[in-house]
């Protein structure tokens, strides 16, 4: 049996998606492990891309820093100081590199990679723990003075919302763009993206928001879901383009071959990297607004 590109893709999805869903629902250490794993693989691919381009990443410090950021996001409520410690650590480890010419490109690239991949991925953990976080934050209020219901499932909702919306938006954009795409969005960066596809993606994300609202009507109002889904759809496009731009610089097509048919881990999570922080900020602002009323 000969497997085409798409069939490989489908098979990978059939195996990978249940694992992902299981980790997202379970949360806790399972999700932490998954995120740490994805961050390390992503960094590995990123460093590989850097080396292809001729830069010299500070690898060991990079992996360590990525793990430290991910773990601190899980164990610490406020981990922004960790980010600066990590920055200092990478700069310090750069001193032990032999090639001084790689100071700016190598060390700078490493810091960028760690913040871009591991830093942005931490929002997956933050989103999953949003429910418990809100509960601890507002416990002092006693009985909630609002009709908004909060429990651990709020976190499940918060992590599934951006992932589902971006996935469905991507799929919609792929089919509509493939079938009707004419006008190019950014021919210099990614020649395959068309405005028709973007429109299809936004339409699909609206449908996704509506369906999610049907499944869990009292977690998040429909109006907010619609606004957030459009934001996520655009963020996903931006994330895709950012990663394409990086790949274009290194002149590679896929960032790796870890998942058959899917390119590298980076190709899968590039849209999410932009979507997760936006979703987190939006949810946090919404709930803070609700509870401060």
């Amino acid at each position: 049996m000969r497997f085409g590109e798409l069939s490989k893709r489908l098979l990978t999805a059939v195996i990978g998606v249940p694992i992902l869903i299981f980790a997202l629902i379970t949360g806790g250490y399972v999700l932490l492990t998954l995120v740490a794993f994805v961050a390390v693989i992503g960094l590995w691919e990123f460093f590989h891309v850097m080396e292809l381009r001729g830069y010299k990443p500070v690898k060991t410090a990079g992996y360590l820093s990525g793990l430290v950021i991910v773990f601190s996001a899980y164990f610490l409520q406020n981990y922004f100081l960790v980010l600066f410690v990590v920055l200092l650590f990478i700069l310090f480890m750069g001193l032990f590199e032999k090639d001084n010419k790689a100071a700016l490109s190598g060390t700078g690239g490493t810091i960028f990679g760690v913040f871009y991949i591991a830093g942005l991925l931490t929002f997956a953990i933050k989103l999953r723990n949003l429910g418990t976080f809100l509960m601890t934050q507002y416990r002092s209020l006693g009985p909630f003075l609002t009709t908004q219901h909060i429990d651990d499932r709020t976190g499940i909702y918060a992590i599934f919302f951006p992932i589902a919306v971006i996935f469905i938006s991507d799929t919609g954009a792929y089919f509509i763009g493939k079938a009707y795409g004419k006008r190019r969005v950014a021919p210099a960066i990614s020649p395959k993206k068309s405005w028709e596809g973007v429109g299809g993606g936004i339409a699909a994300s609206l449908i996704a928001a509506f369906v999610i609202w049907m499944i869990a009507p009292d977690r998040f109002p429909l109006k907010q879901a619609v606004i957030l889904s459009v934001l996520l759809s655009i963020a996903g496009l931006a994330g895709d383009l950012v990663e394409s731009r990086i790949k274009r610089d290194a002149e590679v097509k896929d960032s790796g071959t870890i998942f058959p048919g899917h390119g590298g881990v980076m190709d899968r999570i590039d849209a999410l990297l932009f979507g997760l922080p936006i979703a987190y900020i939006y949810f946090l602002m919404y709930f803070k607004f609700i509870f401060s009323r």
Binding site: G4, H149, R153, K178, Y180, I215, P217
Partner: protein, 457 residues
């Protein structure tokens, strides 16, 4: 698994998306049913709890305890399974449609291939190409697609070689069988433009016709195509004059003039193919902001150089205006539509529905309906220079007012609108003399004048 390959072919995806209409309906209906049906059932099963918040029997005035209704908790728990089942059914249905769509696409491809063969034998090349394209877009057989593509290229080449007026006349083909080709082009539905050029986007719409950005498939370069809706096939004398003029224009080669590549007739529309200049037209630039003097003089000199060259070849622009002057990104100025006014204006056929643009740059003699000459271009250029230097057009008002003013009124002194050097004002006003004998008599005189003053500055 092979059927998944069709997800790469746009035409088949379109077909699939269209055939999936019942699935969309199913999803909408089933989701709405699940949402409202489940809600109604669970509300019936778990009626809401009504409880007063009281402390020692006294109801609290402000605090309100809100219980999550039990039906919602149950809904949270069960609804995902229902939705998942509905989605799964829809997904399987779409997959089944995908499989049958590949068969339908194969049939369509074969039918189109047959049609194409028939059209080719009857001599209708463009129909054959169209059907071949349809066949390739639906076919999944790589070897067949390759051979069909090769055939398309072959047909396209024979089509484009018989549709280019200029190349035909220059190679002398036209003289051997003039009537036949003209009649053929006028009657059959060939599409020589579409077969040779791929229109990318609309660049603009002028008084004379639409301008397209297009890609030349044979030479693989970008060109601009101007569509002029006139007939040339009907009047033999006119066609001869037209070709003489077109050949003259094709000889205009200058860095400051937009190069004419080809003139192709297609279904009563003349396609004027020319160099594509990536940049802005001068009217956009003037509208955006007032230019510094250095830039104004730079642009003016470049325009004058182009005009000097064309006048040397005895070609007059007749319709010089900022819309016709393109400024490339590297600040090279290119004059477009040289001689087009004559080419089109001498047509015996009136162009219905076209309105002449602003008469702001029309010389008095043109406004009075007299023949234009080199000095008319000088007047138009001075008008442009006025606008560049002051940032505002010389005259305002309705087109009719402007025409009257062109004939009778001298424009305001440029220095009253903006601070410009005296010599430039003198140059502009000399170029704007109503009497053409009082203007500069040649472009080179004007160019020399400006150069001298610029050197002194």
């Amino acid at each position: 698994m092979n059927s998944l390959r069709i997800l790469k072919k746009p035409a088949i995806i379109k077909l699939w998306l269209r055939r999936s209409l019942p699935v969309y309906l199913f999803v909408i209906v089933s989701f709405v049913t699940i949402k409202y049906g489940l809600t109604a059932y669970l509300k019936h099963k778990h009626p809401p709890i009504v409880k007063d918040d009281t402390v020692f029997g006294v109801r609290l005035p402000f605090a309100k305890r809100v219980y999550r209704e039990r039906w919602l908790t149950a809904y949270d728990k069960w609804s995902p399974y229902f939705f998942l089942v509905a989605t799964g059914i829809a997904g399987l249905w779409m997959f089944a449609l995908l499989k049958s769509t590949s068969d339908v696409a194969h049939d369509l491809s074969m039918a189109a291939l047959e049609k194409s063969d028939k059209a080719e034998t009857s001599g209708d090349l463009s129909q054959a190409i169209y059907n071949l394209k349809v066949a390739t877009s639906f076919s999944m057989d790589d070897a067949l697609i390759d051979s069909m593509n090769q055939k398309i290229e072959k047909l396209k080449f024979s089509l484009s070689s018989r549709s280019s007026l200029l190349s035909k006349t220059l190679t002398g083909q036209d003289r051997t069988e003039p009537e036949k080709t003209v009649v053929k082009q006028a009657t059959d539905s060939t599409d020589p433009i579409a077969s040779r050029y791929k229109k990318i986007k609309k660049l603009g719409q002028g008084a004379m016709g639409i301008v397209w950005l297009a890609e030349d498939r044979v030479l693989e370069r970008q060109v601009a195509i101007k569509e002029l809706p006139i007939h040339i096939a009907e009047d033999a004398g006119f066609k001869e004059r037209f070709l003489r003029e077109a050949k003259l224009l094709a000889r205009l080669t200058h860095p400051n003039i937009v190069q004419l590549y080809d003139i192709v007739e297609d279904r009563d529309v003349l396609h004027y193919t020319m160099e594509y200049v990536e940049g802005q037209s001068m009217d956009q630039i003037v509208k955006a902001s007032k230019l510094p003097l250095d830039t104004v003089l730079d642009y003016a000199m470049q325009i004058l150089k182009g005009m000097d060259y064309a006048h040397g070849m005895k070609i007059i622009h007749r319709d010089l205006k900022p819309m016709n002057i393109m400024i490339r990104k590297d600040n090279i100025v290119k004059i477009a539509d040289f001689g087009l006014a004559k080419l089109v204006g001498s047509s015996s056929v009136t162009m219905a529905g076209t309105v002449m643009g602003s008469p702001l740059y029309m010389s008095p003699e043109q406004a009075m309906g007299e023949e234009a000459d080199e000095r008319s271009d000088i007047y138009s250029f001075s008008m442009i220079l006025y606008e560049l230097a002051t940032g505002t057009p010389a005259f305002t008002g309705t087109p009719k007012d402007v025409i009257t003013k062109q004939i009778q009124v001298m424009p305001e002194r440029p220095s009253s609108r903006a601070s410009i050097p005296d010599w430039l004002e003198a140059v502009i006003l000399k170029g704007l003399s109503k009497n053409k004998e009082q203007r500069y008599q040649t472009i080179s005189a004007m160019l020399a004048d400006i150069k001298n003053h610029k050197l002194q500055v």
